[in-house]
């Protein structure tokens, strides 16, 4: 601009490019862009940046969402392919996001707007005993082949159906690997949806549960398997 000083700030130009600058002020800036070289060059930059948004429309992204459940605050995360994490362990949102950032360094980890609402809805229905199976795409790309076999076999267990660690080991063709099966399930990134709570020990005891044994009992109780529980120690009392 020649003569007078330009009064437009960086934010004004950015607002114009984003389509946020409505009304007279936006119109003034439109005309101003023909006059003022610094503003025009800024606008060019922001237009170029705007076009590069396409890089994010296609590529990897991790969306996360948190909501309250009878188990406390539940946090879920998904890639474009499917759910990658479900946990209610007592960590805060920042720690959850930090863990995802560490795991997915190149993918922006962003808070979800609507994308994961159907997943939340299905989990709510499950906790309300109105749903017995999940219809949610899963993304198991981050796990080892062995763990994927174990998780896939476990995912085949229906509502209220239980199997032993040895059963799962047999199903994946590794009959002597029941301990390794237990370890793999202990690192199940998708609790509940991949029902590792339905896998118990051969001696009839429930076995461990990463989220805490009381949650395993509560889930089995929710699924109508109070017969497996120790009568003296009531579960969390979901139902």
């Amino acid at each position: 601009m020649t003569g007078t000083r330009c009064t437009y700030r960086d934010e004004d130009v950015l607002a114009w490019v984003l389509g946020d600058a409505a009304g007279a002020r936006g119109d003034e800036l439109t005309l101003h862009l023909a006059e003022c070289r610094p503003c025009r060059e800024r606008a060019e930059d922001y237009c170029a940046l705007d076009r590069s948004a396409g890089a994010c429309r296609e590529g990897a992204v991790i969306r996360w969402r948190a909501f309250e459940t009878p188990f406390g605050r539940m946090r879920i995360a998904a890639s474009r392919k499917g759910l990658v994490r479900l946990t209610w362990r007592p960590l805060d949102d920042d720690a959850f996001v930090g863990g995802l950032e560490e795991r997915y360094r190149k993918a922006p980890v962003v808070c979800d707007c609507d994308y994961l609402a159907p997943v939340e809805e299905q989990l709510r229905e499950y906790f309300d005993a109105r749903r017995t199976r999940f219809d949610i795409p899963l993304d198991l790309d981050g796990v080892t082949d062995f763990q994927r076999h174990v998780l896939t076999a476990t995912a085949g267990l229906g509502f209220g159906e239980v199997a032993t660690y040895t059963d799962i080991a047999r199903r994946i063709g590794r009959p002597r690997a029941s301990r390794a099966v237990g370890n793999a399930l202990g690192r199940n990134p998708l609790a509940i949806v991949i029902p590792c709570h339905r896998v118990v020990r051969s001696d009839g005891s429930l076995g461990g549960y990463t989220g805490g044994p009381e949650y395993k009992e509560a889930l089995l109780a929710l699924e109508g398997r109070r017969d497996l529980l120790d009568e003296d120690e009531p579960a969390l009392g979901l139902v």
């Binding site: 060019e44 170029a48 993918a107 808070c111 707007c113």
Partner: protein
């Protein structure tokens, strides 16, 4: 979408008949002058304005009472002129096109193939977005990538609309700084 269409039908004497000729005779000259001032080229300015009429036919603005058609035309023409400048300055704008008002019928210059970003370029953009502070990242993603309005973003992030907007702007300003070198590099490919 439906209501917008209904508005158009109500306000337009004949729904299909976009009065582009009328606009061209009323505003054509001043738009060309405006764009020429930006591009310093009468021919290119004429191209931009011609293209504007095509755009207006394909994606007609709402020209009902109270709508400022002149402002709309200026805005779209300016946006396109900036794209031309950008392509010129960056040699052969090796960037994916993305524009809210219009989809280019053809590259801004016949020889400027608007390729997508290279794989490395796209990775870099994502990595820089991923490295934004989380509030800015959330806000930038929702506004810039998903086109969510500020009211919804504010609800989602549990903050005021002003704060949501400030986070979007801070994030994009930072990206502009951090990615400034990218476009030049992409041009050299």
């Amino acid at each position: 979408m439906e209501s917008a269409t209904l508005t158009e039908y109500r306000s337009a004497p004949q729904p299909i008949d976009v009065p582009v000729d009328d606009w061209a005779s009323r505003y054509g000259d001043e738009l060309e002058r405006h764009v020429t001032r930006m591009l310093r080229s009468v021919d290119e300015a004429r191209d931009v304005v011609q293209e504007l009429w095509v755009t207006a036919l394909r994606v007609p603005p709402d020209w009902g009472e109270g709508s400022n058609i002149r402002a709309w035309l200026y805005r779209v023409a300016t946006r396109r002129a900036l794209d031309v400048l950008s392509a010129r300055r960056r040699h052969d704008g090796a960037l994916e096109t993305r524009s809210r008002e219009l989809e280019p019928e053809r590259p801004v210059r016949p020889d400027a193939a608007f390729r997508g970003l290279s794989r490395e370029g796209a990775d870099l953009v994502r990595t820089r977005v991923a490295a934004l502070p989380s509030r800015q990242r959330d806000a930038v993603w929702l506004r810039w990538i998903e086109g969510v309005d500020y009211e919804t973003i504010a609800q989602r992030l549990d903050c005021s609309q002003d704060a949501a907007r400030a986070n979007v702007y801070q994030g994009l300003k930072r990206l502009r700084r951090e990615l400034a070198g990218l476009w030049k590099e992409e041009d050299l490919r």
